[in-house]
């Protein structure tokens, strides 16, 4: 066995071990400390489902998709009922990378939407007041109304 390979293997292991240590720590999914400055409503809610075709990569246009949540706790403001509809901007992208010129004040630590996950959401009222681009609403036939606009979306580890 060649020396070069030994040292390369040892080197890889050292760095991996370095990565592992903090991986076991509690630093994961810090809740954004200044989150109460985002939006007018703040809730913890469970994403009930992701309808087929509701989230996809769309290279040419920005879009928002409407997702359905079960509200678990209201931290700030008021929402209509236990089940709410929330519009997410460009949902195929991680929340931390989604802000752009069109929708600058938006973010969170959520990387991917998964049905059943719990999110801590900072919301604003009527989505159409905040976003005038294409909207994909798979709940149109349910008469989804109002549709809140997600300003900040963090994943909550249960």
């Amino acid at each position: 066995m060649c020396e070069s390979m030994r040292s390369a293997g040892v080197g890889i292991w050292l760095v991996l071990a370095g990565g592992l240590a903090p991986g076991c720590g509690p630093a994961a999914y810090d809740i954004e400390p200044s989150r109460d400055t985002h939006g007018t409503i703040e809730v913890t809610a469970r994403l009930l489902e992701i309808p087929p075709g509701a989230i996809f990569e769309r290279e040419l246009y920005n879009y928002a998709t409407v997702l359905k949540y079960q509200v678990l706790e209201v931290h700030r403001g008021k929402v209509n009922g236990d089940v709410i509809y929330v519009g997410h901007y460009n949902p195929a992208r991680p929340r931390a990378q989604v802000a752009d010129k069109l929708v600058p004040a938006i973010g969170g630590n959520l990387k991917t939407f998964h049905a059943g996950d719990v999110h801590r959401l900072s919301l604003d009222g009527a989505m159409l007041d905040h976003f005038s681009g294409g909207v994909l609403n798979k709940y149109a036939e349910e008469g989804a109304d109002p549709i809140y606009w997600a300003v900040w979306t963090d994943l909550v580890r249960e």
Binding site: G23, E59, T112, G134, L136, N137
Partner: protein
């Protein structure tokens, strides 16, 4: 022997470094930011195929090395090979085309063509519902840039003028067969172009959309047709107009997501005809109670809600009709989403005599969310 050993070193160590570096850099970066390394997220969910693929995609998307390098690779390909990537096609004189739009023209359609049938069914159902309310529907399939400027796309089409793709020709035939009023912008654009790229092209070179001149011409053709049919009369609101210049980086350039390419490509300067309310400098705005409702996609949004504002198809149409219009605009959602939105806002149909329904011709193949029959009465839609 010594030389061989050196070569082994020279080959192996850098190659191992290359494959190990992105993961290690990413981990180090995340640790430094007091984040949990993304690679451990694989253990957060049940190992289903979907979760694993999501994890893989997230890992790739969050990779620092990839995010830094990718735009530069795009730039290199763009400069060296005139290759704008997989979603765009390079034409002549710096023109760019949207690849799905080109495929819409080029690709064979299967028989029976389900998306086409679904489109016809949805259009017929919508026409019938509007007819029951005494409203006339006009369907306006907007030609793709590839259809209007095939000569800028491919050498073989140098003298072709405006072409009508097979799918679109089929749509017009079907609309005619079912007695649905359609406005043929292909003919309108063909008459103007006459096979030339004139000084004011009807489409932008680096964008999928029409130019201000294209929007104006389309609005003129639509207004003329509606007025001629007698569905509504010419209004009496004399809008004013002024010229506004806009520097626009095309959506096809932005789509490449490479700041280096954006910096390299000069924005296109276009002169827009901004419509103003009568006797004021206030830009034109829609009125929900207008007699004409326009549904459509980003072809309605450009210049109207984007810069400079009130200079797009809607404002030009209002100017031609000498009356305001109401509108529902949904980027890429001309096929179904605009009608769903209308079903949610039935008040918009009050006082209406004409509905103009615009959608991009490539929606026949690639409609966002497909073609659904949307009932205006029950606000429900039947997936097709």
């Amino acid at each position: 022997m010594c030389n061989k050993r050196l070569i082994d070193w020279v080959v192996i160590v850098p190659l191992l470094a290359i494959i190990a570096a992105p993961g290690l850099i990413q981990t180090a970066f995340e640790v430094r930011n007091r984040e949990r390394p993304g690679v451990f997220e694989v253990f957060d969910r049940a190992p289903t195929a979907r979760n694993l693929h999501d994890f893989e995609r997230d890992l790739e998307r969050s990779s620092l090395v990839l995010r830094v390098l990718r735009p530069w690779v795009q730039y290199g390909r763009f400069r060296l090979l005139a290759d704008p990537g997989e979603k765009a096609v390079a034409g002549r004189d710096g023109w760019l085309f949207y690849e799905p739009g080109v495929r819409f023209v080029v690709e064979r359609r299967s028989e029976p063509w389900q998306p086409g049938r679904a489109a016809i069914d949805a259009i017929r159902a919508f026409r019938d519902e509007l007819q029951a309310r005494g409203i006339v529907l006009y369907v306006v399939p907007v030609p793709g840039k590839e259809s209007v400027y095939p000569d800028q796309l491919a050498w073989r089409a140098t003298d072709a003028g405006v072409i009508v793709p097979a799918r679109t020709a089929w749509l017009f035939d079907e609309l005619r067969r079912h007695g649905i009023a359609a406005i043929d912008l292909f003919t309108v654009f063909r008459q103007l172009r006459g096979g030339r790229v004139h000084a004011s092209p009807l489409y932008l070179a680096q964008d999928t959309h029409w130019s201000p001149q294209g929007a104006q011409l389309a609005a003129h053709a639509v207004a003329e047709r509606i007025l001629r049919s007698g569905a509504i009369a010419l209004g009496n609101r004399r809008y004013r107009a002024r010229t506004a210049a806009v520097d626009r980086v095309g959506d096809l350039v932005l789509m490449l997501q490479s700041p280096a390419i954006e910096a390299f490509v000069s924005p296109e300067r276009v002169l827009c005809r901004q419509v103003l309310e009568p006797d004021s400098d206030v830009p034109y705005h829609d009125e929900p109670a207008a007699e004409v409702l326009v549904l459509g996609d980003s072809f309605l949004r450009i210049y109207e809600r984007d810069e400079p504002g009130s200079a797009g198809f809607l404002a030009q149409l209002a100017s031609e009709l000498q009356a305001p219009v109401a509108s529902i605009v949904n980027d890429g959602g001309g096929a179904t989403l605009v009608r769903q939105e209308l079903a949610r806002r039935p008040n918009l149909l009050k006082n209406k005599r004409v509905v103009i329904w615009e959608f991009a011709e490539r929606d026949l193949r690639d409609a966002l969310d497909g073609w659904h029959i949307v009932s205006l009465d029950r606000s429900n839609s039947i997936p097709r």
